[in-house]
């Protein structure tokens, strides 16, 4: 029923989806654009996307810089760096990071990158930008909720950022914040006020994520233009759809876990606490279970890694197809495997807990279900490879990042088969092998998906191109650098070197990698500098980039390329186009591309 109304609406009316949402027309039909409504409290999905993207980039620089600085400690534990004292003051007196602050840094690095960059920055950007544009809607189902989603994200950011400046330092119990460490101020400086701020910020973040996610789901289900059946949607839409469902179903569980932790911290409850003697003090709490938190946390925590990687998969599928001038291979299998991954995402959380003392019998089910994920993942990889087979590849930066994504996804996915197997996990659990695995598969790979999306849709966002020479340098620097950093870490992991250690010199089993740690630290600095190049390219190109001169610069099929070069709020001038086919008719019947808006002619070959 949404479809007919879309076609009958006059172009001046911005929000025009549904007959019984009359009040929306009233709210948006004739608002005057001031600087504040256009750039700050904007309800335009494209502006909100840019807000998420730029906030995400700021966070990425902060989180990335943290990793560079703690890599200095790891690479050169015996040296002092004045720059550390410049940044951290009394936390790095004399140029050496204090242990409490080292742990605060890695905690913040993880929290920032996982939540604020790769969830907020990635989903927030591309769900907002692409969903209305690719399903053919003038805006999200609820632009107001969408705006609130960003501003809750902003509040979460402010709280998290402010926790860096409190007297006792930010949270320092790892991004997973396991109690009792995170519950007891006596156990760690970071578990004092910093931890409360962390929890508060996460609560705000979850609200933001829910507001956004519900909106994405509602928009995709209800606001597709005429002819846009679910199976005609580009894979980006499917990926963002499953991502939103994962978020809506799993984030509330984290919220409950966080609230119980807040209670344990501040109200004297014992959800997670029992039998504790800390710093000479006997705690009264009895009967709680520290493991309960881990279940609640990982019930979000594992879907969370798919919340990070699925949008990247969607972006890569789309960009790869456009630039290979070839349909994505096995569209239905791609959708099916996204679905399978989304379902399995909820059934594997306890593979993070094989050595927590959980029943080995229960663990065996999680081994089985975890390794099952390799099947849809393998299907996706083979389908991507087949997509570029016999294509006509334009190797622009976004296509290179798409190929790089697949490479990283293979490398990081395969090491997941080691970790998901509980027998091997006993040895490599919480070692550098884990660091290497997840940085490659959900860190670097997700970033590659994000870069791929930014280079590809930058023209849609700003009406200009990014500089491609800088793009090539960015790609090669990042691909080579990421492998140089994380590949050797697998060996440290196989040697059993534990993660979250700031110095290995006191150990005879782990001190054989001193030179390697120096090497990794140096490469990290270089790769970080290359990312700054990207950020510079991004902002420079907003104002100075080469202008886009045609509506459909890539010869792509999807609907966003039927909008004006710089679309206003409402996206299409005139009627929203009708869709007649799927998004992937590239190189069909001798034609390089056939847009979704073109009716199927009777003598076209069927696929």
């Amino acid at each position: 029923m949404n479809q007919e109304s879309n076609n009958t609406v006059r172009p001046e009316v911005h929000v025009t989806h549904d007959g019984h949402h009359v009040e929306h027309d009233h709210g948006h039909g004739h608002h005057k654009e001031t600087f504040i409504t256009k750039y700050i409290f904007s309800q335009d999905h494209k502006t909100i996307a840019k807000q998420f993207l730029i906030s995400g980039m700021i966070w990425a620089v902060v989180g990335g810089l943290m990793s560079v600085l703690f890599r200095l400690q790891l690479g050169y534990p015996d040296q002092s760096f004045e720059i550390l004292e410049t940044f951290f003051g009394r936390w790095a007196e004399g140029g050496q990071i204090k242990p409490e602050f080292y742990y605060a840094l890695i905690t913040m690095h993880g929290t920032i990158l996982v939540f604020f960059v790769l969830t907020g920055g990635l989903s927030g950007t591309f769900a907002n930008l692409l969903i209305p544009l690719q399903v053919g809607a003038r805006d999200m189902a609820s632009p107001l909720m969408n705006m609130l989603s960003y501003w809750f994200f902003f509040i979460a950011s402010v709280i998290m950022m402010s926790s860096l400046f409190v007297q006792t330092g930010p949270a320092s119990g790892g991004w997973t914040s396991y109690p009792p460490l995170s519950a007891l101020g006596q156990a760690s400086e970071g578990s004092k006020v910093g931890m409360d701020l962390w929890l508060l910020s996460m609560a705000m973040f979850i609200v933001s994520s829910l507001l956004g996610g519900l909106n994405y789901i509602a928009t995709i289900l209800n606001m597709r233009t005429k002819g846009m059946s679910m199976t005609r949607m580009p894979l980006t839409m499917w990926a963002l759809f499953f991502t939103a469902i994962l978020g809506v179903l799993s984030f509330p569980v984290l919220l409950s876990g966080a609230i119980l932790l807040l209670f344990d911290r501040n109200l004297g409850t014992s959800f997670y606490l029992s039998d504790i003697y800390v710093k000479g003090q006997i705690m009264p709490n009895e009967g709680g279970s520290a493991i309960l938190y881990q279940h609640l946390f990982w019930f979000l925590g594992h879907p969370e890694v798919y919340i990070i990687i699925l949008p990247a998969m969607g972006l890569v599928s789309e960009v790869m197809s456009v630039n290979a001038r070839k349909p994505i291979f096995g569209y239905m299998a791609m959708v099916g495997s996204l679905f399978a991954i989304a379902i399995l995402a909820f059934l594997v959380w306890a593979h993070h807990m094989f050595v927590s003392g959980m029943s080995p019998f229960l663990g065996s089910f999680f081994v089985l279900l975890t390794l099952l994920i390799a099947i849809p993942s393998a299907i996706k990889v083979f389908n991507w490879i087949t997509t570029i087979w016999r294509g006509n590849l334009r190797l622009n930066p976004q296509m290179l990042f798409a190929i790089g994504f697949v490479s990283m996804f293979i490398s990081g996915g395969l090491t997941g088969i080691f970790l998901g197997n509980s027998t091997i996990d006993i040895h490599i659990h919480d070692t550098y092998f884990v660091i290497a695995h997840f940085h490659i598969v959900m860190g670097v790979a997700a970033f590659f998906g994000m870069f791929c999306g930014v280079y590809h849709w930058f023209p849609k966002m700003y009406g200009r191109y990014m500089n491609s020479t800088l793009g090539y340098i960015h790609f090669w620097g990042t691909l080579i650098g990421a492998y140089l950093i994380f590949w050797p870490m697998h060996y440290m992991g196989l040697a059993g070197v534990p993660r979250r250690y700031m110095d290995f010199r006191g150990w005879t089993s782990f001190n054989q990698f001193g030179e390697l740690n120096k090497f990794i630290s140096i490469v990290t600095i270089v790769v970080f500098a290359v990312q700054l190049l990207f950020i510079f390219n991004f902002f420079y190109s907003i104002w100075k980039g080469r202008k886009v001169r045609s509506m459909n610069p890539y010869g792509a099929n999807t609907l966003e390329w039927t909008t004006p070069i710089r679309p206003g709020h409402g996206n299409w001038v005139g009627e929203i186009p009708e869709v007649h086919r799927w998004a992937y008719d590239y190189s069909k019947d001798g034609r390089e591309f056939i847009p979704q808006t073109e009716p199927v002619s009777p003598n076209e070959t069927k696929h």
């Binding site: 742990y103 009792p180 291979f329 490879i385 334009r394």
Partner: protein, 357 residues
Amino acid sequence: MSSNTWIIIALILGFIITFQIAKASEYVAVLRGEERTRRENNRINAFLLLAFLVLGLFGVWYCNDILKGRILGEAASDHGERIDTMLYITLAITGIVFVITQALLFWFGYKYQEKENRKAFYFPHNNKLELIWTVIPAITLTILVGFGLYYWFQITGEAPKNAQIVEVTGKQFGWEFRYPGRDGKLGKKYYKNIDEANSNPLGQIWEDKDNHDDIYVSQEMHIVVGKPVKLIIGAKDVIHDVGLVHFRMKMDAVPGIPTTMWFTPKFTTKEMKEKYGPDFNYEISCDQMCGSGHWSMRGTVVVETQEEYDRWLAGKTPQYAAAKAAVAPAPPTGTMANATDTVNTSVSNGQPKEFAK
């Protein structure tokens, strides 16, 4: 200071130069025709994809060559052997998949670079192919799950009846051990009885007679070569993890929830020192983030023959004796009065010293 400044200056300079080159290349592109430049870039990057594949695979080999000697040697326990076997089975399978898929990916990237006369092949799906690459991974993974669970249940199954029992307790930031003594039974304990000042660091309940011969040591665990050992693991304050890297074993230490693991050590510390040099030590690492001293939470394991072990244990006095000595002279202080009700005799014994790291 100077080195920092220089690094920053070098970075900024590099930045500016890169940017100028990039900008210039854009102008050149406009002058020479964007289409031509695009094609040239395409060729260069296609070649780089191929070069990356070749150099990358060489890099993988090279990395393996220089680092393979630094991962741990032979597993020092029977479970460790199984884990290593499983690791190598998985490595072989994933290694093959890795090389094939990466090679295809980058080779196709090079081979199917844009050419003017090339038409992309319209190939939207093929059920047979898709079936093949669903079934093959499924079979492969079934094999891996099968092997994995077979070993998993062996490793996590019940410890043999004759297993030696040692209780391990993690605390910020060190390890404490308790041996059951001659009766072979660990006495009961309750965390509210912990009283370090009065030699009761684990909160043993002295009314329980099983406690009277229990031996307490800290930082250094002794076990017998060739004899299964079952660890009963707990923690006092936050979650820790008993990481025994040479035995390939690991288990969390959770306050309030005892966990267990067992294994059979294969080599004595002395044998390992002969093999890997005099610096060798079986180390216990904490593998679960536990606070600011996590990275230094080190303990050691001494694996020795039965005679050496018996001699070592005979030299230890039960904690009960130390506690009685500590309590009798002075009335119990603070919160722990109830724990010491039954302690009324005095035997002199030094409290075990914390071993320095």
